[in-house]
Amino acid sequence: MSNTRSHGQNGRRRALSRRRFIESGAALATLPPALATAMATVVTAPARAAGVKALIIVQQPGSLRTVDPGRASEVDAAAISRALYDSLLSLNGADPAPGYATNWTVSPDGLTYTFDLHPDWKFSDGTSVTPDDYIFSCHRQRNNKSDASWLLGNVDSITKSGPNQIKIVLKKLDVDFLKLVPNPSLAVTNAAVVRAHGGTDAADAATTDTATTWLDQHSVGTGPFMIDHWDRGSEMVLRANPYYWGKKTFDTVVFRFVQDPTTQRDLLLRGDAHIAVNLTPDLAADLLKRGPASKTAVASVPALGIAYLGFNAKASGPIGQPKAWEAIRCAIDYEGLKEIYLGGGQLTGSIVPPQLPNALPVAEGMKQDIPKAKAALAALGMPNGFSFKLTYGADQIIQNVPATDVVQKVKEDLAAVGITADLIGEPLTQELTDYRAGKPEAVLHLWAVDFPGWTDFLPVYAPGGHVALARQNWAVDSSPEANEIAELTAKAVASLDPKEQIEPALQAQRLINQHGPYAWLFETNYQLGYRTDVVKTLAVDLLSFFNIPTSEFG
């Protein structure tokens, strides 16, 4: 029995008081300078701090299954992970910034990375952080074969190269390696403590590591908070880490799990929650309409996810033909889709989100062009259109935008040029299975970011890439254009020099936009509602949704 639930274990809290005094004090939040992209800024409320200062965040329980950084990979865990642990690097927008490492160097061949580390960091139990803790954490993460264990797949070795220095050697060049390192899954945990609770970094960690149960109720990291307890389905409570290296923040952070977005909005309006994570675009628009009088605001930031239609290059019938793809691309009303996703999305130039390096400018993105769509249909030999099956996750919410709304709009657009999209709604889980097997004729799908680098997108969707080959059946040798795109992509990822990357990368995206089996519909946005009387500014992190605001009390 793995009963490590923490009720009553943390005696200190009960000894203090049964009540947590969630009455929040005014919080003059400041940004963690290197950690995040700053968004909204609003007023400071008068101080009425009394007792413990707590921040209440309401989010969907969603896929939150563990907060063990060595196993978690879900975006729902990322914000919590960020609050508990640090990685070697952090993110400033899409760029790497210092974390446990203060600075770093790359060898000329791009294979050896050296990181200088903070000499005086402490874990939340007061023990010092050493390079060995990081090495253990990484090996455990890689060897336990959990979802994110691929992150270190290209790493040949991680070694200690000095008392406060780490050296990482790659197997082959990876132009975006420094953007993998800040991932919350590659966090520093206290090796001795994790080992003491069943953790191991051995090669067979997939079956022998048992620390997750303990790490779901406790934490030993360097982040601003540590786990107090986690009541699955109800709440997770964090309290301040007394040894935190940065500025003091809230004493307590409460994550409340509420599934219904409207209920989340209501909690925010009543002041029972201070940050609401899962607002639909309509609810976010409602908060914006209510304005400052409601003491709420909305922070919005690109989520680097691309919603797209993908066509099966091996499908029999017209939908397998490039001219059919072109007809569909030109028939879609991309501007009209904005009415559905509202603030929950924005246009994209191609597969690489516009905020990342080497992204095709939005101006070169796909546009509705009915005559061109009809010309493509004529060239296909089907001037009156054709029909195909469009499979989608009926219960899929594309970053708070319902997939059913998107496909219904697309169906209507296509009908205008005579193309019939037969909508095949499936449970999302089924759609994932079918798409991964390369079965559906066409899908509506979302590619969510793994690391904020352009190589998480272009090479995956270029001919022969993971998604292009296994799911779209789009092979390198399928056409001269496919071959050219593959060559351009290979050229772009072969150099660390941005100047040598950009031209082939952009040209590859242009050609994909013209010849590829895709229609890029929009890029997703995070929209978070927050109370302006508690949170002055909300820092939004590209990988973890958002960062828990750090604050000063007035």
Binding site: D282, I340, I424, E426
Partner: protein, 288 residues
């Protein structure tokens, strides 16, 4: 003692009572009203239920759009009317199928008792806890996703309730004096079950079935949410209420599709009550 046997003559006599029954009339008017509106949808609704006007999404009720517009700018009034073409027959089909299967099994179990009772009831107990979604996913995987296959899946989890209740009634009635008397008089068991026990049991069962019609309509919502029922953009009440619930600030999107569900469930219950009364052997001639 008046033998409470439903004879054709009694049913006829009851029929006269039905018409005078105001509740019955109200129930029939509501159902007929919806049926006529649903049938005449193309004449009544000025809009195509599938036609989107994305720029006019989520508009409140107005003279043009009586029930407002939904997330894709479609006319909710038209969708409610056309939606009934899917939802109403589907819900009745689910309840009817569940009722027939459940009542038959329950009657046999309760009347035969012994090993038959045990087998039927244990199987029923197993199916009572069986998750609808899993069954619907399996049916959709085997036959394809559609409203018709959603009906099959729902009916397959719907019947156990009727088995339980029907068996309880049959057990109860089987020990009543008049049944014992019939048996003693040498009537065949099948005759006793069909002519004596079931007509009496039906009273309570009908009340239950009437209550279930509204629930059946809404049960399609969960199937629709997973793509296991009617496929969008086809309007269907359950799915309309559940997707409308995600934009509750724009109350009309969920509320107007909920209205036919509410009023029809109300009407079915009124009629269920009236039929119950008509079947009630004690009420026909001498009301207390």
């Amino acid at each position: 003692m008046a033998a409470p046997i439903a004879r054709p003559a009694r049913l006829l006599a009851g029929a006269a009572g039905w018409l005078s029954n105001a509740e019955m009339a109200v129930g029939i008017v509501i159902i007929l009203g919806w049926a006529v509106m649903i049938a005449a949808a193309p004449l009544i609704a000025h809009f195509d239920p599938l036609q989107q006007h994305i720029a006019l999404r989520l508009r409140p009720p107005s003279a043009v759009h009586l029930f407002g517009t939904d997330q894709l700018g479609r006319d909710v009034f038209a969708r409610v009317l056309y939606g009934g073409r899917e939802s109403l027959p589907a819900a009745v089909a689910v309840v009817a199928a569940g009722f027939l299967v459940g009542v038959s099994l329950g009657a046999v179990a309760g009347y035969c008792r012994g090993i038959v009772d045990d087998l039927v009831m244990r199987f029923t107990d197993m199916m009572l806890g069986f998750p609808l979604i899993i069954l619907a996913m399996a049916v959709a995987a085997a036959l394809g996703a559609s409203l018709a296959h959603g009906i099959i899946a729902l009916a397959a989890v719907w019947w156990p309730h009727y088995v339980r209740v029907c068996r309880a009634l049959v057990l109860d009635l089987g020990s009543k004096d008049y049944v014992v008397a019939s048996r003693a008089a040498g009537r065949r068991p099948a005759g006793i079950l069909l002519r004596v026990i079931l007509p009496n049991a039906l009273q309570a069962l009908l009340v239950m079935a009437a209550i279930d019609v509204g629930r059946a309509i809404l049960s399609f919502a969960i199937l629709g949410f997973l793509g296991l029922g009617a496929q969008p953009p086809q309007p269907e009440w359950g799915a309309m209420v559940s997707t409308g619930a995600t934009v509750m600030d724009d109350w009309w999107v969920a509320t107007f599709p909920a209205m036919p569900v509410l009023t029809l469930a109300f009407a079915f219950n009124l009629i269920g009550d009236s039929i119950r009364d008509a079947l009630d052997p004690w009420v026909g001639g001498r009301r207390q």
